[in-house]
Amino acid sequence: MSTETANPTLLIDGCRLVDPETRYDGPAGLWIERGELKKIARTETERQALRARVAATAPEALRLEADGLLVFPGLVDLHVHLREPGFEYKETIRTGCEAAARGGFTAICCMANTNPVNDCRAVTEFICARAAEVSGVAVHPIGAISKGLEGKELAEIAEMKKGGIVAVSDDGRPVADSALMRRALEYARTFDLRVVSHAEDKALAGSGCMHEGAVSTRLGLEGIPAEAEEIMVARDIHLAALTGARLHIAHVSTAGSVELVRRAKEKGLDVTAEAAPHHLLLTDEVLGGSGAYDTRYKMNPPLRASRDMDALRRGLQDGTIDCIATDHAPHSEDDKNVEFHRAPFGVVGLETALAAGLSLVRSGTLSLAQLAERMSLGPARLFGLPHGRIAEGRPISLAVIDPNHKWTVDARRFRSKSRNSAFEGWTFEGDVAYTLAQRRLSYAAEWARPLTAISEPAGAPTQRRIAGV
């Protein structure tokens, strides 16, 4: 990235600021000096004063005419597979971070199923060191629950915490042994870490490769019943009650799981949950039509029935589901271009999540304020991360969004190394125009309204573009 993108001095003028922490949703002018947010001007008078002051004192600053644009806190994704170390041909920490910035994310949590597994402090520190070389996105590793993700012995959770982990999970594999899961919850609680459950009864899921229902019956593919997830969600909620620990259910996909989490919250347990954009927008019906046997629609948990999708949306609306998390799971074309039952599970999601979220706003599932909360402050709070806030005196962490930008998903244009998107060919309305984080401009869309110099009259932007992003 060019130095021009670091420490920007910039006036974002006339945007609609959606800030979940202060519950402010209204017009704003944001004054950023050398990468730090100095002033939020909300009233018309304040904004005029800010404009005048900047014109007088900082004529060399940049300006973004943000009329009609939204500003959210930088987005936070609790569930990303960065594949490094070990699977660099699918994704690296660098390409994953670039995909994140393109998607409006300023902080992501990466799962432990790398090779070697992130089950000890050395691997945690390796990931943090690699991530530090890439600026613009904060990377927070999630440590393994068990050594080697084998579900037998606890990993060195306290040591990994010193190295920088923010939660523990054997994601990709369930912890089949209930006694080990109990110990994991107790032990993680000791160190104030949340346990993220990949809830799946492997024996019941068997060799299933899609949701079990009418579509799997038609296609002659082995199904994964909804109950394979629900049985383990129920078990883990019982264990959370037994241990008083913090439990987070990853990628909730069924109506039954939503109901179990809802009841757990009503009882006052510290149980939280996430849902993925593909589960919120797609059902197994896509595999029944022109997408028959298309491995882009193969992920675990699988795309479910429409009643499950509806329940997930209601859960997200009423707060039973705390946040949207992508479960970004890159796979190469060679990995995916095989017989359906042999293909690996997983879809990429970082670069389409915000657009998917905006479509939930358009369909009336969420308000804009709710969407901003479910994708930034909400998830940040679950793992105790210092993200999702827009406050004067802090380094910038923002997503600038054009809600009216129409675009069609073309995975070949992704920043991610992989192309396995379940939204390929979809036309979305709304996308990220700029991402600002860690005192720099980490992403600028090619189509975005250009930044101009303050000294130039508004409405007559020059072609001066920020280079190198």
Binding site: A214, T217, R218, G220, L221, Y293, V338, F340, H341
Partner: protein, 314 residues
Amino acid sequence: MPALSQRHLLGIEPLLPGDIRTIVETAKSMKSISKRAIKKVPALRGKTIVNLFLEPSTRTRSSFEIAAKRLSADTLTLSGTGTSLSKGETLMDTARNLEAMAPDAIVIRHSASGAPHMLARILEPPVINAGDGSHEHPTQALLDLMTVEERKGPVKGFKVAIVGDIAHSRVARSNIFTLTKMGALVWLCGPATMIPREVEQLGARVTNSMDEALEGADVVMMLRIQLERGSGSLFPSVPEYAATYGLNRARLKRAKRDVVVLHPGPINRGIEIASDVADGEFSVILDQVENGVAVRMALLYLLITRPEGRGGTA
């Protein structure tokens, strides 16, 4: 005869009833060729057909080979072992290599549901599904229909009982689609472990009672119990299965007096079907084999000579 609405034969599900009629009527005229002294016509002379059989098969493979030869096509048959697939080449690479040889049709048998769809997505020539995993076995269902019609006329309004492991049977799926499209009433029968979820949505009725399935049936289709799958998961033992869902003469009395009994073969005598039924007067099992050649001749002919640009694609 109208051309088929589909460019490939990936399954029965996408076919129109008119397509099924066309295939069966064409098969009837093809059948007469097999009864001549010289069993060969030049209809597909100069055409090349690749048979890609990546799962063990004797009956279907030889049936496709004979069908192609009777139409004077050149055939190349590749089986699972001895191909580059056993050396780790992917199905997609194998398919692209075969296409470079410019075949006029590719027939595929594969253990993966959806394998023919993968080929059809990238290949130019018509792809014919000769059985894919637990999905479909369309030529089997078409020859079954032809066989029943020969004996009993149109199937509209017939009660057809299909008995066995419906969940893992591609024969069952293709027959459900074929028979419901042609107006028959399909009853599926087996223990609940063998009945797939929400199968009623395909237009069939389900019963766990063999007697209820057979009561007044016009047609009974027995499915092969896959002993290689191993008992213990879907049923406790072979004797228990045979006693509960095996077809014998006594049970068959519940069916219509002119019932016909089909089996896709190879049969497990004394397990899903008693020998005196398999070899008895109601059995049309050998007619099925004969008609298999005719149906495959019809399909090869219709797909290879299909005019370009007609109707939908698959």
